[in-house]
């Protein structure tokens, strides 16, 4: 044996010994954690769900019943080729993942719980539903899927679901772009056994490669059964990641962090734009009117800098408010245009107004200074949005105690602004929210109009439908915190649907918190999933659609 080969054998011995040693240590540490079992159970659940997804697609293809695609558009071509024929009336549903995800359930069981299946079961007019819903379809994608689906199945009605979130982007995924120019055979009765053969002319037919998948499955199973650390790897990875996160947080905070608390070092509710400081550096402890913290703006050049919060919807609309706030200034230039607290109020009729009269601070340099005013508007206000402005000047300013109190029948209510004294820190985000600029709301509206135009022009026998799907609606945290803009959008699109003779179903607020689940993986793990809902919710939505459309 050559010297090099002997050396390689020694290297292999070292490698195996090190591998076994490391595996033993990590596994021992993992198993000694009291929570190890829960990690293992979680891992099993994820594995089961992953395998069932593919099993589901395969079984649906086998029964020629593939009407939706749980693979994010990867197999959309296959899906279109496998649409089934039916003697019933056909309802084509085109939407995003909301219409195909049953949050918190196992996918195999969930299939029968989907809103499309429920409509099929509960309606009295014999509709077969076709749910062409992929993950996060954009407007452009919905238009293509609607066109393709209509070409193939020639439905009696088309229902397209929309949300602000999926009407924002103009993206077009390659998988959907690829089907744009393709022609698919439309379904006639004679096509009863739809293109199943056509789609199965893949490699298995031409060349016996199915042996490859058998080999893979066999080897993977041998490895899974015999290398313990391999079979537990997903659980151990999650455990290690959680452990590392905790340790690092502990080091950073100088305390033993708990799993429930995650510090962001950002103020709750407030954020800043157009200035030299950001949300992190602009939230300061160097001075405060009360407590320990305040917010700061530094303008080296005259900029339109501000801190602001999101819309606050009032439980009960009112026309009178008392506003107050404190500010401290250093070298604020005399050329400054606006150095004040400014409230954007939205009235019940959808119009809005800015109010800063009586809320302007002195320029130059001064210590904490208070402004306060009581104002009565000529209409009832349904929501307010606070801004603190430092426009068009240079210098440094601090703000504290920004307060807005509504008056009901002359009685002063509680302050409605969160974190008025800037003491509270933004904790772990409990949910994902979608906040948009005015321009983005406009784009969303235009995209929704495009969908309405498109489905209004489809040659179907019955009136087509636009559906606003439900989201998590909660007073403090919600999918769309700018409720005024959201409601305005709903009203505008509703009117447009009327003009275009498209039925409009608004299911925005039909569900409760209990209907929304928790993300179990990805970067949003453990957060509320504000757009996807559970089986009960699918049932509620199906019944709501049936009722609204008289199906």
């Amino acid at each position: 044996m050559k010297k090099e080969h002997r050396l390689f054998i020694i290297q292999l011995v070292i490698a195996v010994a090190l591998f076994l040693g490391l595996s033993f240590m990590v596994k021992k540490a993992f198993m000694s954690d009291p929570k190890a079992q829960s990690y293992l159970e979680f891992n099993e659940g994820v594995k089961k769900m992953a395998s069932s997804t593919y099993a589901l697609v395969d079984s649906l293809i086998a029964t020629n019943d593939l009407t939706f695609d749980p693979t994010s558009g990867k197999d959309i071509d296959k899906v279109l080729n496998n649409l089934k024929y039916t003697d019933n009336k056909k309802l084509l549903i085109v939407g995003s993942s909301q219409m195909r995800v049953v949050q918190g359930e196992e996918i195999q069981d969930a299939y029968q719980s989907l809103v499309s299946r429920k409509i099929e079961r509960y309606n009295s007019k014999g509709y077969s539903t076709y749910n062409l819903s992929l993950g996060g379809m954009t407007t452009k994608e919905k238009l293509i899927m609607t066109t393709k689906g209509t070409e193939i199945i020639n439905p009696e009605r088309v229902l397209v679901s929309v949300t602000p979130w999926d009407c924002l982007s103009d993206k077009l995924r390659p998988s959907i772009k690829a089907i744009q120019g393709k022609t698919y055979a439309s379904l006639e009765k004679t096509d009863e056994v739809v293109t199943k053969e056509a789609t199965n002319t893949g490699s298995d037919e031409v060349f016996p490669l199915n042996i490859n998948s058998q080999i893979t499955e066999t080897v993977d199973k041998i490895v899974e059964d015999n290398i313990d650390i391999y079979s537990k790897r997903a659980a151990i990875k999650t455990w290690l990641s959680d452990k590392t996160t905790k340790v690092l947080k502990g080091i950073k905070d100088g305390t033993e962090a708990t799993e429930e608390v995650f510090k962001t070092n950002l103020p709750l509710y407030w954020f800043t734009v157009n200035q030299d400081l950001d949300n992190l550096s602009g939230w300061v402890s160097e001075t405060a009117q009360s407590g320990k913290k305040s917010i700061k703006i530094v303008n080296k050049d005259p900029q339109n800098a501000k801190w602001l919060g999101n819309d606050i919807i009032l439980d009960t609309p009112t026309d009178t408010f008392e506003f107050e706030g404190w500010s401290k200034a250093e070298n604020v230039s005399s050329s400054t245009k606006l150095y004040c607290i400014d409230f954007q109020v939205i009235f019940e009729d959808g119009t809005s107004k800015w109010h800063y009269k009586g809320l302007t601070f002195n320029k130059g340099t001064h210590d904490w200074e208070k402004v306060t005013t009581r104002v009565r508007f000529d209409k009832k206000v349904k929501s307010i949005k606070p801004h603190v402005l430092f426009y068009g000047g240079t210098g440094t300013v601090w703000f504290d105690q920004i307060i807005a109190k509504p008056l009901y029948d002359g009685v002063l209510g509680d302050n409605v602004l969160p974190n008025s004294d800037f003491e509270e820190e933004l904790k772990e985000r409990q949910n994902v929210t979608y906040t948009y600029t005015t321009a983005e709301w406009k784009r969303i509206e235009q995209n929704m109009f495009a969908v309405v135009d498109h489905i209004a022009g489809l040659a179907t026998k019955e009136q087509n439908v636009l559906l606003f799907t439900p989201f998590w609606h909660h007073n403090e945290k919600t999918a769309y915190p700018q409720k005024a803009q959201y409601n305005n959008l709903v009203e505008t699109v509703k009117k447009y649907c009327e003009q275009k003779n498209v039925a409009f179903v608004d299911a925005s607020y039909i569900l409760t918190k209990d209907n929304f689940g928790i993300y179990t993986k990805g970067s949003v793990r453990d957060k509320i999933d504000v757009l996807h809902f559970n089986a009960d919710a699918h049932e509620k939505l199906a019944k709501y659609i049936i009722k609204e459309l008289n199906l």
Partner: protein, 479 residues
Amino acid sequence: MIFSTSLFLVFFTIVFLVYWFVLGSIKNEDKRLKARIIFLLLASYYFYMSWNPVFILLILFSTVVDYIAGKKIHNSVSQKQKRFYLVISLITNLGFLAYFKYVNFFLGTVNDITGSNFFVDVILPVGISFYTFQSMCYTIDIYYGKMKPSKDFFEFSLYVTFFPQLVAGPIVRAIDFIPQLKVNQYFKDINFQLAANYFLLGLVKKVVIADNIAQFSDPLFANPDQFGTLSSWIGVTAYSVQIYCDFSGYSDMAIGVAALLGFRLMENFNMPYNATDITVFWRKWHISLSSWLRDYLFIPLGGSRVSKKIFYYRNLMLTMLLGGLWHGASWNFVVWGGLHGSALIVHKLYKTKYSDNFKFSKIGQSAYTVGAWVVTMIFVMVTWVFFRAQTFGDAAQVLQNMFTFQESVDYRIPIAFVALLAITVVGHFFGTKYYQEVEEKQHHMFKNPYLQGALFGLAIFMVILFGSDDNQAFIYFQF
């Protein structure tokens, strides 16, 4: 069939055993050599057909055309005849490439201009850009008299389809590879250390780093408008690591697998992110392609030996634009190539005019080097945005996120990202200290064999525990 799957493990184990022990037992040297070539050819065809059996016909057709063209070129007496057969070869190869890879790009551009809706339903055969370039350089080398044509069709076919590097390189030259097929390999000569070193290093790069770090770049490029400045920089940095580890990982594994069969493939990457200028970067990144473009495009265009500097820069730019287009049928790749071409020109101009005039102290020199490295890396990262983004709009959005302050939803820097980046940085910048050059200075290995053994163990542990759960295809398969 992907290197990092159990299927490949079984496939390669069978190939290895049959190649060395079953066919190795044939006493007659010539017959053994022939049997091994035919066996490796069949194995390579099976490897390719595992993806899509039909497209093997395409490779077979190109192989036959180039084999015949090579012979005809060599036997032609007149230059005109030689050129005729070369053109046949080039048209066949580039024709296939143009149809399968670029037809919808061309039609898409026409559609954008005219508002039409032409589209051809065509699948891009995996690895077509690699084997086409490989096959083409065979006839070109014969045309220029650098080599004689192969007398054995199987031998030439194996050169075109040798499975370790068939679908994603390194792009091998006939002049380097075919001579290796003419000599019998012996089991005792296998450099197991080198093979294991390359294969395990590649595996770690692919399944531990590239596949895991993708989670920080994919969401950015899927929805760029929903990311802030910090998360966009994280996403682009993650992609820079991902593309390097993915592609160089494949090349490393290819070198390792080939070494286990007794073959030597060229090094395709040489710590490219150490480069302190863009010219050096291209000497270290995808070396087999950049040297191919240099020898078969840049130099035939006139290279740097031209009457006016402007022609040199034109040649450089054309080479980079076509190099960009080679990667994919999209204007994004053209822009990517164009930006690199421009940077190369700027660097040449800078070097000519200023660089030699600088006199630095030791500290000044270090600061200059660090500054040059930072500039080079930022440029490389920015251009990866065009490489990765699906549309110009997406690329512009990512760049806007990076260079104008955008609100971030989340200010955390993920620990997994930091860990993966740290592994890459440590390996990239400090690994070289412990390397030695071996095998005619073509390959590298650790100096300390015991440390090498420990790293094998650590690599296996990391692959098993931290390997991504999804078997993601290598990025360069699509090219």
